[in-house]
């Protein structure tokens, strides 16, 4: 049974229609010892049928450690969003359920070409950042 209701699928399909460029979701997983990986995979698998611009690529943390390292991932489940030409540097650690699912959809739309919601002034301030900065936003599903 689908995790996303028919009504939500229709809404998502419409939202994804606005996407102008493809988005690849790198799904970092491992075979053993990851209770929430199958659920995450199940959620992600429901997205590509809603848009031909969305694809999933599974990366095994154990077998493809170098690739995981390249994306700064050391735990699973995790998702990295990449566009055709570049890494968006947007990551999701843990299952994207509940409100996190909405954030994931927003991130997909952003990477897929929707203009960022930042003011021109703030974009300038951020463009001036010349040293690595990481932001971890802690959330819960409810």
């Amino acid at each position: 049974m689908a995790l996303i209701s028919q009504a939500d699928q229709d809404k998502l399909r419409e939202a994804f229609n606005e996407m102008t460029s493809p988005v690849r979701l790198l799904f970092f997983t491992q075979t053993l010892g990851c209770e929430t990986c199958p659920q995450t995979r199940q959620i992600l698998d429901e997205l590509p049928p809603l848009s031909d611009k969305i694809s999933i690529e599974e990366v095994n943390l154990v077998l493809e450690g170098d690739k995981a390292k390249q994306y700064g991932i050391d735990r699973v489940p995790a998702i990295a969003l990449v566009s055709e030409e570049k890494d968006s540097r947007i990551r999701f650690l843990g299952t994207p359920a509940g409100y996190e699912f909405i954030s994931l959809i927003q991130a997909i739309l952003l990477v897929g070409g929707r203009p960022p919601g930042l003011t021109q002034e703030n974009r300038k301030r951020l463009a001036a950042v010349n040293k690595p900065l990481t932001m971890q936003v802690f959330t819960t599903p409810t």
Partner: protein, 69 residues
């Protein structure tokens, strides 16, 4: 923010699945954002308006500037 700046990486962390990270940063309420530069960390509690959020987030950078002594 990560999308517009090549130096910024953003992680959405599910706190209940990563209790070790949540403990490390003393997450007792959500949303909580931990912004880390070289040697400085700034914590932002709750959701803030865009200007205020960016103001606080970028303060991690100035805080990690080498101090003259």
């Amino acid at each position: 923010m990560a999308f517009v700046s090549p130096n910024i990486t953003a992680y959405a962390v599910e706190a209940t699945e990563y209790p070790d990270l949540a403990r490390k940063y003393h997450v007792t309420g959500v949303p909580k954002t931990v912004v880390a530069a070289d040697s400085a960390e700034v914590e932002i509690l709750g959701a803030l308006p865009q200007d205020a959020f960016i103001e606080q987030a970028l303060s991690a950078l100035s805080a990690s500037e080498p101090q003259s002594r």
